[in-house]
C-alpha cells in the first residue's frame, strides 16, 4: 500500500448484484434494508459506505449511484445492512425493492472510523441517519471492551432511531429531542462536559449534524479531546476519481479540498470547515 493508498493486485472493492433479504419501513421516513453478500462486501468496517445502483421506480430513473453507509456487515451471516431515509428518486427506488430482487452495489468504499488502543470511554453523537453510520462503530467499540455513551438526537423522542440497537450493543443511551429542548446545543454541551469531567469521554464521534460537529470541535479543542466526524457530499464515482465530492478542510493556515469518498468519509474532527 503506497502513498496513493492502492495495493496493486489486491481487489478490496467489488461491484456485485446481490439478493435482497428484507427491506422494511422502521417508521414513515426510514427503511431498513438487508442484503445477502460475500467478501469483500462483508468486510465493510464502521464508517465505510457502499455505492448503490438504485432501481428505476415511479419516483424516477436515478442515473448515478447513491452512497449509503454500512449499518451492519457480518461475514458469518453473510449479510450487509443499510438504514436509509426516503428522500428522492434514488432512495425511493431502494424503497421499492422486494426480497429476492437484486441490488447492484459497489464497495466497501472510503476510510472508516478508527479506535485508538488507549481509549476506554467514547461518546458518539448522531442525528437522523447519522445514527446509521455510528451504530456499527458503537458495536465495534463494545466488542473491543470500550464503554460507549450514545447521544441520539431527533426532532421528537419517538423519532429517535436505533436506540434499542445501541442498548443491546451495551451502549449507555441518552436520547435528546428538539420537541422538549433536550437537543439544544447548550443542553448537549452540558451533557458532554459532565461526561468529560467524569472521565467518560476519551473521544467524540459524530455524524449527520453540522451543529453537533461544531459543538464537538469547540469542546474537543478546549478539553483536548480527540474525535472523528463522518461527512457526506454528492458523489459520482465514489472511488476518488472525479473530484465531485470535495469539501473544505483546514490544513495548517491553508484551506484545502479533500474528497469525501476517498480521503473520508471519516475525518479528524478538527479538520473540516463548517458546511
Amino acid at each position: 500500500m503506497d502513498a496513493i493508498g492502492v495495493t496493486v493486485g489486491s481487489f478490496p472493492v467489488a461491484e456485485r448484484a446481490v439478493p435482497v433479504v428484507s427491506n422494511r419501513a422502521v417508521n414513515p421516513e426510514y427503511m431498513h434494508l438487508v442484503v445477502a453478500a460475500e467478501p469483500p462486501a462483508t468486510n465493510a468496517r464502521p464508517g465505510q459506505f457502499f455505492h448503490l445502483l438504485c432501481p428505476v421506480s415511479i419516483a424516477g430513473a436515478p442515473f448515478l449511484r447513491r452512497p449509503m453507509s454500512v449499518y451492519a456487515a457480518d461475514p458469518e451471516r453473510g449479510q450487509v445492512e443499510f438504514l436509509y431515509k426516503l428522500t428522492g428518486a434514488g432512495t425511493r427506488g431502494l424503497g421499492a425493492l422486494k426480497p429476492g430482487d437484486r441490488l447492484d452495489m459497489v464497495g466497501p468504499l472510503g476510510k472508516g472510523f478508527t479506535l485508538e488502543p488507549g481509549w476506554r470511554h467514547i461518546v458518539v453523537l448522531g442525528r437522523g441517519v447519522g445514527l446509521a453510520t455510528l451504530a456499527p462503530l458503537a458495536m465495534l467499540a463494545r466488542r473491543a471492551g470500550v464503554d460507549v455513551t450514545a447521544i441520539l438526537s431527533a426532532r421528537r423522542p419517538n423519532l429517535v432511531m436505533s436506540a434499542d440497537l445501541f442498548r443491546e450493543g451495551g451502549a449507555n443511551v441518552v436520547a435528546v429531542a428538539d420537541s422538549d429542548g433536550t437537543s439544544a446545543i447548550a443542553a448537549v454541551e452540558k451533557l458532554l462536559r459532565d461526561l468529560a469531567a467524569a472521565g467518560k469521554a476519551d473521544a467524540f464521534f459524530t455524524c449527520g449534524s453540522n451543529r453537533l460537529m461544531l459543538l464537538t470541535q469547540r469542546l474537543g479543542r478546549e478539553l483536548r479531546i480527540p474525535g472523528q466526524v463522518a461527512l457526506e457530499q454528492q458523489m459520482a464515482c465514489g472511488l476518488g476519481m472525479c473530484f465531485c465530492c470535495v469539501r473544505e478542510f483546514r490544513a495548517g493556515s491553508e484551506v484545502e479540498h479533500r474528497r469525501v469518498c476517498w480521503d473520508g468519509p471519516v475525518f479528524d474532527l478538527q479538520e473540516p470547515l463548517s458546511w
Binding site: 503506497d2 493508498g5 467489488a14 472511488l239 476518488g240 476519481m241 473530484f243 465530492c245 479540498h257
Partner: protein, 315 residues
C-alpha cells in the same frame, strides 16, 4: 482468436479501450485489473496548483450527468512524485492529459512532461468548465492550429488533441490539428450545459454551467466522429456516452480507431473491462479477425427500411 491491437496516434495499443481523462484514477485499481486496459489517460495536469470549481460539482440529467469539476490539479511535482511511479507498475502506456491558459504554457508543460514513462501527450484544448462562458482553444480552427504548432515544436512524443464539441464545425478544427502536426484527435470533451433547481431557483452547479456527459450525448459525439473521420487521415479516438460494447462498435464503424470511456465507469466501475470483453465477443460473432477492421466499416447510401419483422421471416 480476435486481434485486438490497434495503431492509433503514433502508438500501438494492446486494445482500443482506454479511460477518459478526469474519470479515471488510481482508485479504480481496487476493482479492475489495470493491465487489461489499452492505455491509461490521466486527469488533466496543469502547471499551477488549482482548487477547481465551487460545489455542487455534479448533477443528474436525463441519460447523463453535468459536472463542473474544473481542473483541480496537484501540479507537476505531484505528477512526477506520485502519479508517474504508480502507473509504471503496470504494462499499458500512460497518456498525459495536460492543459494551460496560453499556447506558451501548453508548450512548456508538454516539454516538461515528455519524459520516459509518458507515451503520448493529450492536449486538453477543450475543457469547457474553466471559463464561465466555456470558451476554449478548440472552438476555432485558428487557435487550435496555433496552440498545436507550439505543442508540436515542444515535444517529440505522439501528440493528441482533445477537441471540444462546443463548436460549429468540428471537422474544420480537426483539420487544423492535423495540419499542425497532431497525431490523433480525441472526439470529444463534454457539451456545455446547465440545469436549474426549481425549488431554490438556483443553478444545480456551483459554477452555473458545466459539462454534459453520458449516453445523452452519444448521438451528437458519434456524428462529430463521423464528420472528423471524413475530414482527416490521422487517428480518431471516440469519446462520448459509451456504456456498452455496441456503443463502442458504433464509434469504430463511424471511423474511430480507439475509444475512451468516462461517465460509464461511475455507473459501473467494470465498464472498461466489460466493453473490452464485449468488443472481442462482437468481433468473434461477426467474424472479424481484427478489431481494427471495424474502423470506418459503416455502410453508407441510406439505411435499410425496417422490414416487417413481426410479420414473419418470409413475409
Amino acid at each position: 482468436m480476435v486481434d485486438l491491437a490497434v495503431e492509433i496516434g503514433g502508438l500501438r495499443l494492446a486494445n482500443p479501450v482506454m479511460p477518459a481523462s478526469g474519470t479515471f484514477a488510481e482508485g479504480l485499481a481496487r476493482i479492475i485489473d489495470f493491465n487489461r486496459l489499452g492505455a491509461f489517460v490521466i486527469k488533466t495536469v496543469t502547471r499551477e496548483l488549482r482548487a477547481g470549481n465551487p460545489t455542487p460539482r455534479v448533477a443528474e440529467t436525463a441519460g447523463g450527468m453535468l459536472n463542473s469539476i474544473g481542473i483541480p490539479s496537484k501540479g507537476v511535482d505531484y505528477f512526477f512524485k506520485e502519479t508517474l511511479p504508480f502507473y509504471r507498475q503496470f504494462t499499458p502506456p500512460l497518456i498525459a492529459s495536460l492543459s494551460a491558459p496560453t499556447a506558451d504554457g501548453f508548450a512548456s508543460l508538454a516539454a516538461e512532461l515528455s519524459v520516459p514513462g509518458v507515451a503520448a501527450i493529450e492536449a486538453n484544448i477543450s475543457c469547457p468548465n474553466l471559463e464561465e462562458d466555456g470558451r476554449a482553444f478548440a472552438m476555432t480552427a485558428h487557435s487550435t492550429e496555433a496552440v498545436m504548432k507550439r505543442l508540436r515544436a515542444a515535444t517529440k512524443l505522439p501528440l493528441w488533441a482533445k477537441l471540444t464539441p462546443n463548436t460549429g464545425d468540428i471537422a474544420d478544427v480537426a483539420r487544423a490539428a492535423e495540419a499542425a502536426g497532431g497525431d490523433a484527435v480525441v472526439v470529444a470533451n463534454t457539451i456545455l450545459a446547465m440545469s436549474i433547481d426549481v425549488d431554490t431557483f438556483r443553478p444545480t452547479l456551483g459554477s452555473v454551467t458545466g459539462g454534459l456527459s453520458g449516453p445523452a450525448i452519444k448521438p451528437v459525439i458519434l456524428r462529430q466522429v463521423y464528420q472528423c473521420a471524413r475530414a482527416v487521415k490521422i487517428g480518431i479516438v471516440g469519446c462520448g456516452g459509451i456504456a456498452t460494447a455496441e456503443d463502442a462498435v458504433q464509434y469504430l464503424l463511424a471511423g474511430a480507431r480507439a475509444v475512451q470511456i468516462g461517465t460509464a465507469t461511475f455507473v459501473h466501475p467494470n465498464s472498461l473491462i466489460n466493453v473490452l470483453d464485449g468488443l472481442e465477443r462482437f468481433c468473434g460473432k461477426r467474424g472479424f479477425g481484427r478489431v481494427g477492421d471495424l474502423t470506418g466499416a459503416l455502410i453508407r447510401g441510406g439505411a435499410d427500411e425496417t422490414d416487417v419483422e413481426w410479420a414473419g421471416a418470409a413475409g
